[in-house]
Symmetry: C2
């Protein structure tokens, strides 16, 4: 069946947007995989796996540049209207967060390589590991809310960030105790501190992704607004219901 020129253009555009969405979700998937690998490399100390994570960060970086160029190209050729424009802009910001999550994951991988090479006790990393798993769940929830364009789920997921911050402080207190008990442990424990801070930041970036999902669905910029106020204003009810 023949179709009009306009229909054709519009179908092409829909496909471009669909591809763009698919690419950002693929990038998210890769970043999650990197995070899973680094957690695995802590659980069962594995030098090779940690080195793989360091190397694969270049792929994450390349994806950011590629997807950002796609966004620019779409904006330039298609001049999308409100909803589509928001999607493109949200994606162009989400990929920045994903790229930074990749950087932080690489930082943890380097710490683990160091832990293995120096024979630093794995006991320093028990709290770190639990924090890492917590953050991984937050990232999963954030990407899932973004993929499903579900602002209620995004709000629920963003409520995890204060929890992550609390857990971060608890792990930090424990690490400080190790250092005070044995000053020779200071260098080794400081590596673990670097990993804690990296996971804390991954949590922050996951929360940023939630904000972008809310912006995308509700058309409202909710950065720097308290969570309860967001729920109230957007009439999203209790976040637990998501």
């Amino acid at each position: 069946m023949a179709m009009s020129h306009t229909q054709h253009i519009s179908q092409q555009f829909d496909k471009e947007l669909e591809d763009l969405r698919a690419h950002v979700l693929a990038m998210g998937g890769l970043v999650e995989e990197q995070l899973s690998k680094v957690l695995e490399a802590i659980t069962h100390p594995n030098l090779e796996l940690a080195e793989q994570v360091v190397e694969a960060d270049a792929v994450v970086n390349a994806l950011e540049v590629k997807i950002d160029a796609e966004c620019t190209s779409i904006l330039m050729r298609r001049q999308p209207a409100a909803g589509d424009l928001r999607l493109v802009l949200a994606i162009s910001k989400v990929i920045t967060d994903l790229e930074r999550i990749g950087d932080e994951t690489k930082k943890v991988a380097r710490v683990i390589i160091n832990m293995i090479n120096t024979g630093s006790p794995r006991s320093y990393y028990l709290g770190v590991l639990s924090l890492g798993h917590h953050v991984k769940r937050s990232l999963r929830a954030a990407l899932d809310a973004f993929a499903r364009m579900n602002s209620r789920a995004a709000l629920a997921a963003s409520r995890e960030d204060p929890e992550v911050d609390r857990e971060t402080e608890a792990v930090m207190r424990q690490l400080i105790t190790y250092m005070m008990e044995d000053p020779r442990a200071i260098r080794g424990v400081l590596d673990a501190v670097v990993a804690v801070r990296a996971f804390e930041r991954i949590g922050d970036h996951a929360a940023n992704i939630c904000e972008k999902a809310i912006y995308l669905v509700e058309g409202k910029d909710v950065r720097h607004v308290a969570l309860d106020q967001i729920a109230q204003e957007l009439n999203l009810g209790s976040a637990e219901e998501a």
Copy 2:
């Protein structure tokens, strides 16, 4: 003198872009001022000044949201062509970096408040202070290159980042020595470590701003490309000549 409707529209658009540029530079100025204040509050320990810095971060955050909305509005109404589109997109990313610099500066201010309240020795902060001044110069150079849209100056400024990283490691080694010498100092020194990491990140964000300036002028995404390669590809010659 009468002017055509098109001329009128185009002049209005030029004014909007000019305003947008002015707003991002004003935001940059505010962020620099915050950084100067926090350095001053370390040099002459000043609780009130440090508290001012913490409070004023809300203004930086509000500016980001406002300028981002301006960018979206321009994209939606004006559908800018290549060069103007690049400007708007570059600005929408630079403000994210500026907002994060504000966050890191607030973090340092909180550390200084703690330093003053707990009577932690100021000697821990000498290296931190020198690093902070270094980073402040980097930020100045980055914003200046962005304002003048000078890619050569941006490249020269981005060469500061590896220097900042080297200084960071030197300061860290010094702080570790303090901790090993006196385990009772650990808590206090760890606060200084937080400040070191915050300044290091401000340096990273300054480098990001340089990359955006290069993208803006040269239309090339230079993230994750080695500095020498950028200089060669863009024919910018030696960065020292800027």
